[in-house]
């Protein structure tokens, strides 16, 4: 039920033609849905393999023996193997279990870090996924996170409220901030038909500048600092630590609750049914008496609130203050997370944990082996590229086509 919209046009494709044959687009879509876990696993393996090649060819420790490759090829090969295995071992020990530690608590600390990095990705990934189910491309998660973080942090450092209440109010402020910002493209799409991709991309830039602007104002300035940085949020407004020695905080639980709510909303509620119906076929939804425009607005509001939650989680749980880089590209990671999770709420959680692990382990990898953490971005992008084109993965590994889709998209594509 996820990636229904392979074509984003306003004209829905006919599912079948007059002869009852299934259109290739439909077939491809069904293949996306039927894309089994094996394709996902192979996509990850393939992405790690390609990134491994990149690590090898750029590693100076490999380049040196490669200079005399033809006299002693073994040197090059072993250097290449060491280069990749060191990097990926560090990636693993930095994200899952560190076997070099003696106590269980310390050994599992990397996994806590993984979950900490996954927390905002869950909420932000849901923000993209919810809109995507309604047939909308919410490229503006980044800006919505910034607004959410701004609202949450502002409540956090401006007011002084009792325990529990303060953090609750601050998180709710974050939800409102994100929802308001996402409401703009929603309303514009519903009333004027403005394409949400362009509007949200522009709003990302506006949000970035707005945050920079606010951080020059006295209300947001930390006393005694000239750089754009806010005061720390109050003690009562922070999301508490969950795991000692790690930054993992209560935000994870909030994000999981949000996942429950979103899963229920999408799959069990009338609202969710409308979102899915509009996403599948706006014309049919209109005919059935649903208001497409209103659904767009509500989908964007919900998406924005989720992005705001991600922002609040970063501001109140991880940073404890506001700075221009508070979002740090989370909004774009969110898109890859949602696509990898096939826009299913619990799929998003799984994808967020995977990408959280890449993020958490990437830091360790850079420190231990000098392999730049940016390789994580490459892995991420490659995984999603392979996921969205399962036919490619099947072709590479010579897998059989799933029974539901008898004709491979690869062959169908070339005849068009």
């Amino acid at each position: 039920m996820s990636d229904e919209r392979s074509g984003t046009g306003t004209t829905p494709e006919p599912a079948t033609d007059q002869l009852g044959r299934e259109g290739i687009g439909r077939r491809f879509i069904r293949e996306l849905q039927g894309g089994d876990w094996l394709v996902t696993v192979l996509a990850v393996v393939l992405a790690l393999a390609i990134a491994g090649v990149l690590i090898i060819v750029s590693d100076p420790r490999v380049q040196e023996p490669a200079g005399y490759f033809f006299s002693r090829p073994g040197d090059t090969l072993s250097a290449a193997w060491n280069s990749v295995s060191d990097a990926y071992a560090a990636l693993f020990s930095g994200s899952i279990i560190d076997f070099s530690e003696y106590s269980v608590g310390r050994a599992l600390r990397p996994f806590a870090n993984t979950l900490e990095r996954a927390t905002p990705l869950i909420a932000a990934g849901l923000a993209f996924a919810v809109a995507f189910r309604a047939g909308l491309f919410n490229i503006g998660v980044e800006g919505q996170i910034m607004l959410g973080a701004t609202f949450a942090a502002f409540v956090g450092f401006t007011f002084d409220l009792p325990v529990v209440l303060h953090v609750t109010v601050a998180v709710i402020a974050g939800l409102i901030g994100g929802a308001l910002w996402a409401g703009i493209p929603g309303v514009l799409k519903a009333t004027t038909g403005a394409h949400e991709v362009i509007v949200t991309i522009m709003l990302n830039n506006v949000a970035r500048l707005l945050l920079l602007y606010l951080l020059t104002k006295e209300a947001f300035q930390r006393a005694g600092r000239q750089d754009p940085i806010s005061p720390f949020v109050g003690e009562n407004a922070t999301l508490g630590q969950l795991f000692s020695g790690s930054r993992l905080h209560v935000g994870l639980l909030v994000a999981l609750v949000a996942t429950f709510v979103v899963a229920w909303l999408l799959n069990r509620s009338t609202f969710g049914f409308q979102i899915r119906a509009v996403g599948l076929n706006p014309s049919a939804a209109t005919t059935a008496g649903m208001s497409v425009g209103r659904t767009y607005v509500f989908a964007f509001l919900l998406a924005g609130a989720l992005a705001g939650l991600a922002g609040a989680s970063e501001a109140l749980g991880t940073f404890h203050f506001l700075e221009p880089g508070i979002s740090g590209g989370l909004g774009f990671d969110a898109i890859t997370v949602a696509l990898l999770g096939r826009s299913q709420p619990w799929g998003v959680v799984a994808a967020a944990v995977l990408f959280g692990a890449l993020r958490a382990g990437g830091g360790r990898m850079q420190a231990a082996t000098g392999t730049p953490v940016d390789i994580v971005l490459v892995v991420q992008a490659l995984i999603v590229l392979f996921i969205v084109a399962p036919a490619l993965v099947r072709a590479i590994f010579r897998l059989k086509e799933p029974k539901t889709g008898p004709v491979a998209v690869a062959t169908a594509g070339s005849e068009a």
Partner: protein, 431 residues
């Protein structure tokens, strides 16, 4: 099918004047509101008695022209009135069921910007030539990016990966120019990098029908990841060998470059800028006056009809996307060998997305996109010039928001009819 059938009956639907449906009053209303704003804020509320001074020529110029000083308030009022006159004219045109010609919003924009400028520099002076010269420079990658975007969208493929193509062009041109020891080699490498990214985009979207926006977003992440990785791993440790491409120097065109204002602004730039002029001109003619252009637009507007006429829709799209990639890759070279002379992490800084905005503001037309890019370049440069002069009337961040807000206004249709090619974003699946 023969060529004749392909080129016969496809009059551009843009110009069709129909009396069906409602008249769209958004343009006159938007222009009217903005014009009133200009008249009141930049005119009546301007500090009386102050003068705004524009320095035209620089000390080194052949012909010296005295700086022009105008009364800020008088100039603001005059320009505000001009804005309102243009708004009224667009009102008259709409009432007569006629389209508002392109020069109206363009002139309006110019008048509005100058009203803003006189208001900003009230009491001080500003170097007009430097301002415009910098604006052109900053607009260069935007123009190339927008040409790439509109070539793709005119043939029906949305290209979100402009950012990645610019960045890939910047990276490869920098590296190749460093290794070869001459920026000219970088200029050859840049379009190849852009074409590689575009080729991936074309394979996934045109051949495998994967959603165009998804692939575009993911390709951006991929290019950012790869260039960042190689930058940290290879370019930083071996700076002299890998990241010292040098840069092109300005080539003054004999004679023309001596003309005041226009000379230094237009005819004393580096080779990439001159290629940009040529690209815009060639693309305009090719898109609207050639068989290739007609086919491209047909494929973007109505692929079924184009297919019926014997045009191979997906191969036209594939070729155009890759060609477009060459354009934005070339534009990416401006970042390294065209201006800074070295590659930096994510040095395109989201300008590929601005290029998309530029394309929309320019209504999917090369000339329109050129002016929209100049607007963005102007605002970016104005911000830095005013920052240097210490004359910014309000926060630079708020001023930098202006182009983005203008784009939102444009796509929301408040500033005239902005219509995308009908079939953009929809994979063409032959049935």
């Amino acid at each position: 099918m023969s060529v004749d059938t392909a080129s016969a009956p496809s009059a551009p639907p843009d110009e069709a004047v129909t009396r069906v449906g409602k008249r769209n009053w958004k343009t006159p209303i938007t222009l009217g509101v903005l014009g009133l704003f200009a008249l009141i804020v930049f005119g009546f509320l301007a500090p009386p008695g102050e003068e705004s001074t524009f320095r035209i020529t620089r000390a080194t110029d052949f012909v010296q022209i005295e700086p022009i000083s105008v009364s800020s308030q008088v100039a603001g009022i005059a320009l505000g009135v001009l804005c309102l006159v243009l708004a009224a004219y667009s009102f008259v045109r709409i009432r007569a069921w006629q389209p508002v010609p392109l020069w109206v919003p363009l002139t309006f924009g110019l008048a509005f910007v100058f009203a803003f400028l006189t208001w900003t520099v009230a009491g001080t002076s500003i170097p007009l030539t430097n301002l415009l010269q910098g604006a052109i420079a900053l607009a260069v990658p935007l123009v190339f990016g927008a040409m790439c975007g509109l070539l793709g969208e005119r043939s029906g493929v949305i290209n979100i990966a402009i950012e990645g193509q610019l960045l890939a062009g910047a990276f490869l041109s920098g590296v190749v120019a460093s290794l070869a020891g001459s920026p000219w080699f970088g200029l050859i490498a840049a379009p190849i990098a852009g074409m590689l990214v575009a080729w991936l985009l074309a394979v996934f979207t045109v051949k495998y029908f994967v959603n165009q926006i998804i692939v575009g977003v993911v390709l951006n992440v991929l290019v950012i990841g790869v260039t960042n990785f190689l930058y940290s791993q290879v370019l930083v440790p071996n700076r002299e060998q890998w990241n010292a491409p040098g840069r092109f120097s300005d080539i003054p065109i004999p004679g023309l470059s001596k003309i005041p204002i226009i000379g230094p602004v237009l005819f004393n730039q580096n080779i990439i800028v001159y290629v940009m002029y040529a690209t815009v001109a060639v693309l305009t003619i090719a898109l609207f006056r050639s068989r290739w252009g007609l086919r491209t637009r047909a494929v973007g507007e109505h692929p079924q009809a184009a297919d019926t006429a014997g045009i191979r829709v997906n191969s036209v799209r594939f070729r155009n996307v890759v060609l477009a990639g060459a354009l934005s890759g070339f534009g990416g070279a401006f970042y390294t060998i065209g201006s800074t002379g070295a590659f930096g992490r994510e040095m395109t800084a989201g300008q590929g997305f601005i290029a998309l905005a530029v394309m929309i503001l320019g209504r999917w037309h090369p000339i329109g996109a050129l002016f929209a890019a100049l607007l963005f370049g102007f605002v970016l440069n104005l911000q830095s010039v005013l920052g240097l002069a210490g004359a910014a009337p309000f926060s630079s961040q708020l001023m930098l928001m202006a182009p983005y807000l203008v784009t939102i206004i444009a796509v929301a249709g408040f500033a005239g009819r902005v219509r995308a090619p009908a079939a953009e974003g929809i994979p063409y699946i032959k049935s």
